[in-house]
Amino acid sequence: MSDVVTALDGATFNGTIAVEDAGLTGMITLRGDFASTSFQNAVTGVSGVNFPGKGEVNSVGDRGLAWMSPDELLMIVPYDQTNAALAEITENLGEEHHLAVNVSDARAVFRLRGNGNVIREVLAKLTPADLRVAALPTGRVRRTRLSQVPAAFWFSAEDEATLICFRSVAEYVFGLLRQSAAEGSEIGYF
C-alpha cells in the first residue's frame, strides 16, 4: 500500500507561536437533520462525544464533533479508524436521509501552540473574524477565511488552537501563518 502523508508531511515552524502540521487526521463531513434523535444518537454513538450546540466543538482526546452549519458537522476520529466510523454511521442511519463522506485526505490540519493572546493575534492578522476571547472562547468553532482561502479554527485550550483548511491550499496557509508568526512581528493587541 502507498505511504499516506499529509500535504505538509509534518512541517513545523517556530516563531512567536509554534505552527505545526497536525499529521494524519480522520475527518468525516456529516449532513443531516440535527433535530432528529436517531441522527444525534448515530453521530454521538460513533464519535463518543456530546452533540455540539450551535457554533460549538466538542472533543475528547483525538475524537471530536464540530458544528459547521445548521445541517453540517465535522467528525474527527483517529485516521486509521475513519472508514470504520463511516461504515458505522451509514449502518446506524440506514434509510434516514443523510450524507457522510470521508474528507480526511481533502483537508489539512494545523496545530497552533503558544501564548493564547499571541495565537489570537497571529490569526487576527489573516482573518476578519472577531478573535477576542469573548467572541471566540475555548470550544467555539469559527468558519471564516484566512487571507484568500476558507478555513475553520477553534481553541481547544487557551494555549492551543486547531486550524483546518483545504489540502490544496495547505502550503499557502502554512506560508501565511509563518509570515504572521514571524519573530519581531508581535503587535500586542490582545
Binding site: G55, P70, P128, A129, R143, T144, R145, P150
Partner: protein, 109 residues
Amino acid sequence: MLILTCPYCGVDCDETELGAGGEAHLKRHGPGSTDEEFESYIFQRENPRGVHFERWRHAMGCGKWFHAARDTATLEVFGTYVAQAFEPPQEIKDKITAKRPGWTWRDVA
C-alpha cells in the same frame, strides 16, 4: 465595511466573508409569463438611496443564504433574517420604521 450577522451561525461576518446575492424577494416569472413580467424579473431592480433589502450568502462560513435589510447610504444594518421569508418580517419592518419613518421599498412599507 459592512458587518452582517448570519442568522444561522449567529456570528458577525465581514463583507469579505460573504457573497452578495443582489436584490431580495424577487418573484420568478418563468414560462407562461408575459414579456413585461419576464423583463421585470430579469432586469428591473431597485437602486434606492436608503432602505434596501438584499440577499447575501455566508460563503466563507456555513454556506447558507440569508436576507439583510440595510441603508445603502449610511451602511446601517437594520437586521438579517432567514432566506425562507417571502417578505421582510414585521420585527425588521418595525425597526426600520423606528429609524426611517415613512420608508417604502417596492410594495413593502
